[in-house]
């Protein structure tokens, strides 16, 4: 969540005000620093406590067991597929929300962002009533020979559902702060809307899009509640890493902790990548925009 909020100013909000002369004002009161330190500690301490519990000699065998690797592989594959789906659906949504003007726009935004605040279990139940065998669309899908229940597709749907708002929020913020001046200029020069989008808008907001992509990927990796409720849990098919951790905890706490660290490591790498762009560079940062994926 902090990454989500933090990514907005970095991706170009600063540009609007033009370049500030010298260093920006940063008179932070001391008591704010104390509270900030407490906040940082609150996040770091549990991680440290977990690392302290790791059984290091057993770590490699635990995380490289067959169920663990199956879960990790499934998590990476489904998160990649879900992120692609998020881009496909989320980029148009963000464009419509940021650039469009139509009645019910605020309402639409609230609904798109709803999964952010919804407990994932609720999302899973909602998906069940939509795509489940007895669900709104599920029945017709089943007639068409498509079965989503208990399939990897169900995992992808669950992850997309919870991760989509992350992409939309990041990108919409970037679009709004980038403004539409360049687009307007391109249009007056005769560029068609699709050309403007491809040649002007998207390159401009690429950093925002990249951080949105990484955040939604991270959210997909961590998805648990909706998957458990909607997709089930079967090794190699629907049992992603968080579900495997939850199950291992029943019998083998050491394995659960080891797998948790693995998930934390992957998440740290992903979130770290989304922060790699130096924030204070300010003007011009929008153009240099290699999405840090490798």
């Amino acid at each position: 969540m902090t990454g989500l909020l933090g990514s907005r100013p970095g991706s170009g909000a600063r540009r609007r005000g033009g370049s500030t002369a010298g260093r920006p004002y940063s008179g932070i009161p001391a008591w704010i620093i104390v509270l900030a330190a407490a906040g940082a500690l609150f996040g770091l301490l549990p991680l440290a406590a977990m690392v302290a519990r790791i059984n290091w000699p057993q770590f490699i065998p635990l995380v490289s067991s067959e169920p663990s690797l199956a879960a990790l592989g499934l998590s990476l594959r489904t998160a990649a597929a879900s992120t692609a789906l998020c881009v496909l659906l989320g980029v148009p949504l963000a464009l419509v929300l940021a650039r469009g003007r139509f009645p019910g726009q605020r309402l639409l935004r609230s609904f798109v962002l709803l999964p952010l605040v919804l407990p994932p279990v609720v999302g899973g139940i909602a998906l069940l009533y939509t795509f489940g065998r007895q669900g709104l669309l599920g029945r017709s899908l089943e007639v068409a020979g498509i079965q989503i229940a208990f399939s990897t597709a169900a995992v992808v749907l669950a992850q997309t559902f919870v991760a989509l708002p992350f992409l939309v929020v990041s990108l919409e913020g970037a679009l709004r702060s980038a403004g539409s001046r360049y687009e307007a200029v391109a249009a007056t020069l005769g560029a068609r809307p699709t050309t403007v989008l491809r040649r002007v808008t998207l390159p401009l907001v690429l950093p925002g899009l990249a951080s949105g992509v990484l955040l939604s990927f991270a959210r997909c990796l961590g998805e648990f509640g909706a998957t458990l409720t909607f997709a089930g849990s079967l090794q190699g098919v629907t049992r992603t890493l968080p579900l495997e951790i939850y199950l291992q905890r029943e019998t083998d706490a050491a394995a659960a902790v080891a797998l948790s660290l693995l998930l934390v490591a992957v998440a740290v790498i992903v979130v770290g990548l989304s922060y790699r762009r130096p924030g204070p560079a300010g003007p011009g940062s929008a153009g240099r925009a290699e999405p840090a994926r490798s």
Partner: protein
């Protein structure tokens, strides 16, 4: 920040702190502590809630606090120092974890048994009528993962029946299995007899002979860390006595073996 707000924040913080202190003081309660904390397996929820009510009626001034969760979850909490007087487990394995670690006090007593049954949605879409039907291709069966007691039992009856199940999902709790059957996602699931009984007419139970190959025994024990040994003993006597037996058989549990 305006002084008014700061004062309000202070008052709020102070009252919160006072509330917290008040809570812990009440929980400690000195010598006249008449609160009994019972950790019980999730499948015991209905029957233990009834039992605790009767126990409170018979012992005026006594309050029974119940905490329900998966047996392994509760065992883990107790190992980590959660304050409980009595632990009732849905299997002997998790109770053994505690007694091996000397966390129980006195005898471990078995008070009920439970067996698996086939649960199908009320409409029984896959026309399941026997255990063998679960192995039919196209029948979506959901069971518990072998890491949890109901999954171990499912694998045992599968072996006894000689039918190879290909479940579409292995859930981490029996409640999740039942949920998939109630919602109609699954054609059948292996759950406990008591779960089907508690679910009412939302699911149908189909008993099968091989279920007897995996009888789950429910043990209860007082805990070493408990603060109220006398009340704990009295509560355990109610659970293992005739009152308990009546409530458990109403809920579909079997009598303890031996």
């Amino acid at each position: 920040m305006r002084p008014g707000r700061q004062a309000a924040a202070l008052v709020l913080a102070a009252s919160l702190a006072a509330g917290l202190l008040g809570c812990s003081a009440a929980a400690r309660g000195g010598g006249a502590d008449r609160t009994l904390t019972v950790f019980a397996a999730a499948s015991l929820k209905a029957s233990f809630t009834r039992l605790a009510g009767e126990f409170e009626l018979r012992n005026p001034g006594v309050k029974v606090r119940l905490s329900f969760a998966g047996s392994s979850e509760l065992a883990a909490q107790i190992t980590q120092g959660a304050p409980a007087d009595v632990f009732a487990s849905a299997d002997t394995t998790n109770m053994a974890k505690l007694s091996d670690a000397s966390l129980t006090e006195g005898a471990v007593q078995d008070f009920a048994t439970n067996v698996l049954t086939i649960a199908v949605p009320a409409s029984n879409p896959a026309a399941v009528s026997a255990f063998g039907d679960l192995a039919r291709p196209g029948v979506k069966v959901v069971i518990c993962a072998s890491q949890v007691p109901c999954g171990a039992a499912a694998r045992a009856v599968e072996k006894a029946a000689g039918a190879a199940l290909k479940p579409v999902s292995e859930e981490s709790s029996v409640a999740d299995v039942l949920g998939k059957v109630i919602s109609g996602e699954a054609d059948a699931g292996l759950v406990y007899v008591t779960d089907v009984k508690a679910a009412g007419d939302k699911v149908r139970g189909i008993p099968f002979a091989e279920a007897g190959q995996a009888v789950n025994t429910y043990p209860i024990a007082a805990l070493r860390g408990g603060r109220n040994k006398e009340l704990a003993a009295a509560f355990m006597a109610t659970v293992t006595g005739p009152d308990g037996a009546k409530i458990f058989s109403d809920a579909g549990f079997g009598a303890p073996v031996g």
